[in-house]
Amino acid sequence: MSKLGNLGARLHRGEVGYDFVGNRKIWYGISILITITAIVGLAVRGLNMGIEFQGGAVFTTPAKTSASVSQAEKYAEEASGHDAIVQKLGNGSLRIQVAGIDTNKADQVSTELAKNLGVAEKDVTGELVGPSWGEQIANKAWQGLAIFLVLVVIYLAIAFEWRMAVAAFVALIHDITITVGIYALVGFEVTPGTVIGLLTILGYSLYDTVVVFDSLKEQTKDITKQTRWTYSDIANRSINSTLVRSVNTTVVALLPVAGLLFIGGGVLGAGMLNDISLSLFVGLAAGAYSSIFIATPLVADLKEREPQMKALKKRVLAKRAQAAAQGESPSASAAEEPLDDDHEDAAPAVVGPRDQPVSRSRGRGRPSGKRR
C-alpha cells in the first residue's frame, strides 16, 4: 500500500510517469487498428437486432404448461438461435418472444417448442409481433444524441477550448465505435438495454475526459510565460498527475459491472444481464483508455499547431539545446526526465501566483540537479 501511495506521490511530483503524449503515435495506431476491426466486424457481421427493434414472433403455450420459464427460454433459444424472452401468464401458460423470425421459421420453431415442452403442436400458437421500439423511438434517440453532442461540443469549446471539444468528440466516437464493433463481433443481441448502455458510456466517457481536461487546463494556464515545458510536456504531466484518479475511478466503476458480466452472466449464460453489462464493460474500459491515450494527446497535437505553442516549443527546445551544450542534463525528448532533473529552475519559470516569489528565491541558490 505504501508503495502505491509512494507511486501516487511520485506521479504527483512528476518523478515517474509514462510518456503518453510522446508515444501517442503508437496509441493512435492501436486505436485505429481496433476501430477498423470494429468497423469491419460491423460491416461484415452486422448487428443482431433484438425483438424490440425488428419484431419477431410470440408463441403462447396452452394453460398450465409444466415447463419452467428458464427451461422454455433454453428450448426457444435452441430452436431459434435467438435470445428469447419468456413470461408466465396468469393462467399458467407461457408467452415466449423470439426476435428475428419470419412466418416460415415461426412454424418450425413452434413445432420444435411443442415437442420440447411436451404439449400438442396445435396448442402452441405463434404470431408475429412488430417492434416495440418503433422507428420513432429509435429516431428520437438519435436525434437526442445528435443534439446532445452538438451542445456538449459547444459547452466544452466554451468551458475549455475548441481543440478539447474536438478531442473529446473524437474520443467519444472512438469509444462508441469500439463498443458497437464488439457487439457485432460477439453477436450479442441489441436490445433497448444495449442502447441505454451505450448512452451510459457516452456520459461516462465524456465525464472522464472532462476531468483530465480540467487538470490540463489548469496546468497550462500560464504556459506561455515559461520556457521549460512544451504544451505536450505539460499535457503529459497532467495525465500522469490524474492517473491515480483515473485508475481508481475506473476500477470503482468497472468492478460492479464486471461482477454482473462475469459472475451474473457467467453463471447463467447469455441473457439480458450479459448484454447490458458487456456493453458497459467494454465502453467503460474504452472510455478510460481513450481519455488518457487518445483525447489528451490529441489536444496536445492540435494545440502545438498554434503559432504561440510552436514558438514556445522552439524556445523550449532552444533552451534545452543550450543547456545540453553546457553539459547539463541533456535529455530533451522524454518528458519525465527533465521533470526530474531540471526542476531546479522550473519554479521561477512556471508561473504560480502564490509561490512565485518564494520559489524564486529558493530555487536560485541551490546547487542544481540535487533534490534529495
Partner: protein
C-alpha cells in the same frame, strides 16, 4: 475558476455540522414521506416485476376493412404509447402482434384499470363543419336547412370571435364525466404567423354532404329537435353510429358550462391529420392561452379547403367543430382560409383547458377502433433466477469496490462508503416516492445504469481525496489541506457533472420511451451526486479533519503524510511541478 474566496471556504468550513444536519433531515423527511405514501420500494418495470398484459384487437368497421394496415397500426401504437407513458418513465410497453393486435404491457403497481381505460378508449377525432347550433335545453327552433352549401356569398368575412347565439337559460350542470371540461366556446381560429393566402376563390364549394336525401335531412332535423344535451344518456346517444361521411348531431359544452347542441356536416379533416398540437401562451397578440396545430401534408390540404369554404359563411356556419368520440370539444370560427399547414385556436382558454385540448388533438385520435381481447397477468420477462444472480453479482461487485476503497484509501474509505450509502439511500427513497408521483418505474437497464452511477458518484470523492492527498504531499497538515483542496475539486466535479446532466436533460426532453426513463435516472443520480458531495462528503471530511485519528495522520487514516510521501515541511515549496499547484488565492 476564479481563485477561491477565502471567506467562502472559511464559512463552509465553519458550519460543516449544518450541512450534515440538512442532509440528515432531508433523508429522514423523505423516508417519512415514503412510509407515509405506503410505497416503500421503487416500482419496477415489467421486465423485473411482471404486470398486466392487455391484448387489443382492431375491429373493422363496415366499409373500412382496408383501414387495418401497418401504417394505421403503427400510428395507434404510437398514440397509445404516449397515452400510457406520457412522461416516458413508467416502463409501459406497447407493440403490435400479428396483423391486427396490439399488446400493452403494464408493469405491476400501475393502476391497470386506469391504463386500460386510457389505451382502450377508441377516441375518434374529426373536424366537422357546424351547420346549426344553439344552447341545448332552450326551446328548440331549428330553422336553417342543414345544407352546407348555403349562403356562400363571397363577402362578409365576419371576424367574429364572439359568436354563438344567446346565453339564455343556463341549463345543465356540468357533468363530471365529461371529457370536455374547460372548453372555451369563444374559440377563434387564426392563421398562425403565416399570412393566409386566400387562395380558394370560391371555386364551387360543392360541399360533399350535398344534403343527402330529404328523408335523411328531416330525420336529422328531428333528431336535433329532440336532442337534449343536458341529459347524459341523450348525449351518449347523440350521433351514435354516425359515419364520418354523414352529417350528424352532437353535443358540446361551451365556456360558460352550458350544453350546446349541433348539427354537423360530414367530417372534413381527420384527427390523424393533425401532426401535433400544443398549448402556447401567446404574448404577441395578448390572446392568452391558445392551441396551435400542425397538420400533416395531407391534413394541410384538407384543412385549407375547409377553412376556405367556411370563412365565406355566416355565423354559425363559419365554425367547425372538433369532435372527439361524438362530443364537440371545441368549435372555433374561421375568418379566412388557412393553408399554411398550421393554425391557432384562441379563446377563453386557461392553461389547463388549452393543454387538455392540445392533448386531445395530438393524441386523441386513434386511426382504428379497438376491442379488448384479453387481459392477463404476466411474470417478469427476466427470470427470477436471473434477477437473483444479478443481485448477487452486483453485491459482490459492490463488496469489491468497498474492499478496494479500503485497501487504497484506508480510513478515508469510510467517508467514501458513507457518502455512497447516503447517496444510495437518497436515490432509493426518491425513486420510491416518484413511483406514485409520476409513475416512475425502474427497468433492468436503469438498474445497471444506477450501478455505473456508483462509479460516477465515487469519482467525485476520488477527485476530492486525491486533491487532499496532493495538498498533504505538499507538506500541509490535514485541516488546511482539506480546505485548500476543495475549491478545485469542486470545480472539477461541477464541470464533469454538468456534462452528465446535460446528456440527461437533452435525452429526457427529446426522446421517448425507455431512453427517456434512462435519462431521468441519469439526471437524478447526477444531481444527487452533487448534493451528496457538497452537503455530505465535504463537511464530513472537514469534521473528521479535526479528529485525532485523521488529523494527526494515523497510518490507517489514509492521510498519513509519510505514506503519501509528503515532503518535510521545510522543503515543501520545492515543487517542480509548479503548474499543478500554482492555483491558490
Amino acid at each position: 475558476m476564479a481563485a477561491p474566496k477565502k471567506g467562502r471556504s472559511a464559512s463552509a468550513q465553519s458550519k460543516p455540522g449544518r450541512s450534515l444536519a440538512l442532509i440528515l433531515i432531508a433523508i429522514v423527511g423523505l423516508t417519512a414521506g415514503m412510509f407515509a405514501t405506503g410505497q416503500t420500494t421503487p416500482r419496477l418495470g415489467i421486465d423485473l416485476a411482471g404486470g398486466t398484459s392487455i391484448t387489443l384487437r382492431a375491429v373493422t368497421e363496415p366499409g373500412q376493412e382496408s383501414a387495418i394496415n401497418k401504417t394505421n397500426m403503427d400510428t395507434a401504437v404510437e398514440i397509445m404509447n404516449r397515452r400510457v407513458n406520457g412522461l416516458g418513465v413508467s416502463e409501459t410497453e406497447v407493440q403490435t402482434q400479428g396483423a391486427k393486435n396490439i399488446i400493452v404491457n403494464i408493469p405491476k403497481g400501475t393502476n391497470a384499470k386506469e391504463a386500460r381505460a386510457q389505451v382502450g378508449t377508441t377516441a375518434k377525432l374529426y373536424f366537422r363543419p357546424v351547420l346549426v347550433t344553439e344552447i341545448s335545453g332552450a326551446a328548440a327552433t331549428p330553422t336553417p336547412s342543414p345544407s352546407p352549401s348555403a349562403s356562400s356569398s363571397g363577402g362578409a368575412t365576419d371576424k367574429a370571435t364572439d359568436k354563438t347565439t344567446s346565453s339564455s337559460s343556463p341549463s345543465g350542470t356540468p357533468s363530471a364525466t365529461s371529457t370536455t371540461q374547460g372548453r372555451a366556446v369563444t374559440d377563434a381560429l387564426k392563421a398562425d404567423a403565416t399570412p393566409s393566402t386566400s387562395a380558394s376563390s370560391s371555386a364551387s364549394p360543392s360541399a360533399s354532404a350535398s344534403s343527402g336525401s330529404d328523408a335523411a335531412t328531416s330525420k336529422l332535423q328531428a333528431q336535433y329537435a329532440a336532442l337534449n344535451c343536458v341529459n347524459e344518456k341523450a348525449r351518449a346517444e347523440a350521433g351514435k353510429g354516425a359515419k364520418p361521411t354523414d352529417p350528424t348531431v352532437a353535443c358540446g359544452k361551451n365556456s360558460s358550462g352550458q350544453w350546446q347542441k349541433y348539427i354537423l356536416g360530414p367530417a372534413e379533416v381527420d384527427g390523424t391529420d393533425v401532426k401535433k398540437a400544443s398549448a402556447v401562451f401567446n404574448t404577441r397578440t395578448g390572446a392568452g392561452w391558445t392551441v396551435t396545430m400542425d397538420f400533416t401534408s395531407d391534413g394541410r390540404k384538407k384543412f385549407g379547403d375547409i377553412t376556405g369554404k367556411l370563412a365565406k359563411n355566416q355565423q354559425p356556419q363559419n365554425q367547425f367543430a372538433i369532435v372527439l368520440d361524438g362530443e364537440v370539444i371545441s368549435d372555433p370560427s374561421v375568418s379566412e382560409a388557412l393553408t399554411g399547414g398550421n393554425a391557432e385556436i384562441s379563446g377563453n382558454f386557461t392553461q389547463e383547458s388549452s393543454q387538455s385540448l392540445a392533448n386531445m388533438l395530438s393524441y386523441g385520435a386513434l386511426p382504428l377502433t379497438f376491442k379488448e381481447d384479453s387481459v392477463t397477468t404476466v411474470t417478469a420477462a427476466l427470470g427470477g433466477e436471473q434477477l437473483h444472480a444479478g443481485l448477487i453479482a452486483g453485491a459482490i461487485g459492490l463488496a469489491l469496490v468497498v474492499l478496494y476503497l479500503f485497501l487504497y484509501y484506508r480510513g478515508l474509505a469510510l467517508v467514501a462508503v458513507a457518502s455512497l450509502l447516503v447517496s444510495a439511500a437518497l436515490t432509493y427513497v426518491i425513486m420510491a416516492l416518484l413511483g406514485p408521483a409520476i409513475g416512475f418505474a425502474l427497468n433492468l437497464p436503469a438498474v445497471c445504469g444506477a450501478i455505473v452511477a456508483i462509479g460516477i458518484t465515487a469519482d467525485s470523492f476520488i477527485v476530492y481525496f486525491e486533491r487532499v492527498r496532493d495538498e498533504i504531499r505538499e507538506g500541509r497538515s490535514l485541516r488546511p489541506a482539506v480546505e485548500r483542496a476543495w475549491p478545485r475539486a469542486r470545480r472539477t466535479i461541477m464541470v464533469s457533472d454538468f456534462v452528465s446532466f446535460l446528456a440527461a436533460a437533452v435525452l429526457f426532453v427529446v426522446t421517448v420511451g425507455k431512453v427517456q426513463g434512462f435519462a431521468f435516472t441519469l439526471g437524478l443520480t447526477t444531481l444527487l451526486d452533487v448534493v451528496v458531495v457538497f452537503l455530505f462528503t465535504k463537511p464530513l471530511l472537514t469534521i473528521l479533519a479535526r479528529s485525532k485519528f485523521f488529523g494527526s495522520g494515523h497510518s490507517w487514516s489514509g492521510l498519513d503524510p509519510k505514506r503519501l510521501g509528503a515532503r518535510p515541511p521545510l522543503r515543501r515549496t520545492r515543487r517542480p511541478s509548479a503548474p499543478v499547484e500554482t492555483k491558490e488565492a
